[in-house]
């Protein structure tokens, strides 16, 4: 029970990071982006590549930080992966979604995201192989926090939770204290009105992609650190992330964070009563439950 709670909070924090970017995109650009979860895989693999490059250049970097399986090389690769994934997201928008948006077909963007998801997922499989990989083969020993009730936590998990909290606080400060945060919220509220009030719409949209992509990359790396990396991780995470945005209400960033934790906790709690094979269906049940009770999510507002 306690163990499920701990695991749920961890996977919830990863889902939250993925859901923040998705909810921003879904709200401002008005389309369900089925390729968002592939950005998590993209980020995870970019970090894997740069971890390898840095460790090859400076072998010292391949030592792990005390107790963690995380190496210095990966720590350095982390911001690089965030940046590259963020800019990739922006470029994908420029090449694909923006052009379709300009033709005025909102739902065509959803199909396009199917296509983009297929391309990214299978290109990653082609380049890196279909098998699962790990950032480090070192075994990070788990800490037994309590014998009864049983609670085992890996140092990596604590690290991931801590870094997620830092990222979320930074995001909160950015949204509530900076001019960019205001314009972002204004665009989310009403793009036309925001543009009239002097907000540079194009810049805000580009920043949303960079920010959303970066957060997705962070989520992907954290997922890789605490589970493993594989080309199909995007496929497995797309529904939980969608569920988190719907639970939180599309467009609500704080809702997405809370939604992520709810989905993560519910999926892990469900394992107590369901065989583990059924867990991919849990986010769907959460979506249905929320839509039945509150069609606009816990924090969302009705919108035409």
């Amino acid at each position: 029970m306690i163990q499920s709670l701990a695991d749920g909070i961890l996977s919830g924090s990863i889902i939250s990071l993925g859901a923040i970017g998705l909810t921003m995109v879904m709200h401002t650009l008005r389309f369900a982006n089925f390729s968002h979860a592939e950005l998590l895989s993209l980020g995870a693999y970019i970090a894997l590549v740069f971890d390898g490059v840095f460790s090859a250049l400076l072998p010292v970097l391949s030592t792990s930080l005390g107790g963690l399986s995380l190496t210095w090389g990966l720590l350095l690769a982390f911001p690089v992966a965030l940046l590259i994934t963020g800019f990739s997201a922006m470029i994908i928008d420029r090449w694909v979604f923006k052009r379709i948006r300009e033709k005025g077909e909102e739902l065509s963007m959803v199909f396009a995201s199917f296509g983009v998801a297929l391309i990214i997922r299978n290109a990653l499989g082609l380049m890196f192989g279909l098998e699962t990989q790990l950032y480090s083969d070192d075994i990070a020993f788990a800490m037994l926090l309590s014998q009864d009730p049983l609670l085992i936590v890996k140092p990596d998990q604590v690290f991931v939770l801590g870094l997620t909290a830092v990222i979320m606080v930074l995001l909160h400060l950015m949204l509530s204290k900076t001019t960019f945060g205001y314009s972002l919220r204004a665009v989310a509220e009403n793009p036309t009105l925001a543009a009239v009030s002097g907000v540079d719409l194009k810049r805000v949209i580009a920043t949303i992609w960079i920010l959303g992509g970066g957060l997705a990359a962070a989520a992907g790396i954290f997922y890789g650190l605490t589970n493993n990396i594989s080309p199909i991780m995007g496929r497995d995470l797309v529904l939980p992330i969608f569920a988190a945005t719907i639970v939180g209400g599309i467009g609500s960033i704080y809702g997405a964070v809370l939604g992520g934790f709810i989905v993560g906790l519910a999926a892990n709690m469900a394992l107590l009563i369901l065989p583990s094979g059924y867990s991919p269906a849990v986010p769907f049940l959460i979506i249905l439950a929320v839509l039945l009770v509150r069609p606009n999510g816990l924090f969302g507002e009705a919108r035409s």
């Binding site: 879904m26 008005r30 389309f31 369900a32 089925f34 694909v96 052009r99 379709i100 033709k103 077909e105 909102e106 739902l107 065509s108 959803v110 199909f111 396009a112 199917f114 296509g115 983009v116 998801a117 297929l118 391309i119 997922r121 299978n122 290109a123 499989g125 082609l126 279909l130 496929r235 797309v238 529904l239 969608f242 569920a243 719907i246 599309i250 065989p275 094979g277 059924y278 991919p280 269906a281 986010p283 769907f284 049940l285 979506i287 249905l288 839509l291 039945l292 069609p295 919108r303």
Partner: protein
């Protein structure tokens, strides 16, 4: 020579079965504007239900009622429709992207359930024990496949003419009215959510029938046949063909299925042995590029919808 012909028969059978599913999707998306992201679930519901109803009893499998084949196929179709009715009731009053996400969720949940419920759907091993209709009477497999192709072609034509009739009827105009402007349709006293539910159920039943034919052709169905990626393939067929145009939908199916088969054959025969493990990846990348490319350069598809004026104004 006979090898090529029998392969052509096989290819056409599968393509025609998929074309039926694409017609069902076209009815939902092309004519009514409903975004179904879970085609695989409705196709799969029809497939599993047909085998359960028409098959022989097997250990670890529900059903095996050995129903007369047409009844089993109709039963499969109805069960796919029932699933669509439940899903539609829950989601159709919501915004488009919610419908896309929840139907996608249905497909994921469906695959998860049939893969894991080993006492019910045979689990990952799939469902067996189905005797194909009339197979005992026709000894020659080539003639049997030819006969099956005939059955599939008859169903495809029947579905095609049925949909064409519906589209030209006042009900079809109502569907397009709802697709174009829901509020306007509502102001004329129509009930959009009821009509949308109807269209969603009918389209899903057609997909379910395609699934039933697919399962009966192979006399087998497994979770591997109803992966959520099947939805993407079927969407690609519709987008290439042209949403809103039934002939286009059928043509798109043959083009995409042909490209899929040909690329699989080419990679299996000419690609280096190391690359063959990645055949599926390469094929899905091609499908992805086709979807994105069509939307960028020819969003109306190869065969665009013909806009009709139902009554000449005088």
């Amino acid at each position: 020579m006979i090898g090529i012909i029998s392969y052509a028969v096989f290819f056409t059978t599968i393509a025609a079965i998929l074309a039926i599913a694409v017609l069902g999707l076209n009815f939902q998306w092309g004519n009514t504007g409903l975004f179904n992201g879970g085609v695989a679930a409705f196709f799969g519901a029809g497939a599993y239900a047909t085998i359960m109803l028409g098959g022989t009893p097997q250990p670890d499998q529900l059903g095996g009622f050995g129903l007369f084949y047409p009844l089993a196929l109709i039963g499969g179709t109805i069960i796919a429709g029932a699933l669509a009715w439940v899903v539609g009731l829950l989601t159709l009053r919501l915004r488009h992207d919610y419908l896309a996400i929840s139907t996608f969720g249905v497909a994921v949940a469906f695959e998860t359930v049939v893969r894991n419920a080993s006492g019910f759907s045979g689990g990952a091993l799939g469902m067996r024990g189905f005797e194909r209709p009339l197979e005992a009477l026709i000894a020659n497999p080539f003639f049997y496949n030819l006969l099956f192709l005939l059955l599939v072609a008859v169903v495809l034509l029947a579905v095609y003419f049925y949909l064409e009739r519906v589209i030209k009827s006042p009900f079809g105009r109502l569907l397009r009215a709802i697709r174009e402007d829901e509020v306007a349709a509502q102001s004329l006293g129509k009930n959009p959510s009821k009509i949308r539910l109807k269209a969603f159920v009918v389209g899903s039943m057609i997909m379910g029938m395609a699934g039933g034919l697919f399962a009966s052709f192979y006399a087998f169905i497994s979770p591997q046949d109803v992966l959520p990626t099947l939805t993407f393939q079927i969407w690609a067929m519709l987008i290439v063909g042209g949403a809103g145009n039934n002939k286009g939908a059928i043509a798109g199916t043959f083009i995409i299925w042909g490209a899929w088969t040909l690329s699989g054959w080419g990679l299996a025969n000419y690609a280096p042995i190391e690359a063959q493990l990645y055949t599926g990846s390469i094929q899905y990348i091609i499908i992805g590029f086709i979807i994105v490319g069509m939307l960028l350069w020819r969003p109306q598809g190869l065969f665009p919808e013909k806009l009709v004026v139902s009554q000449s104004g005088r």
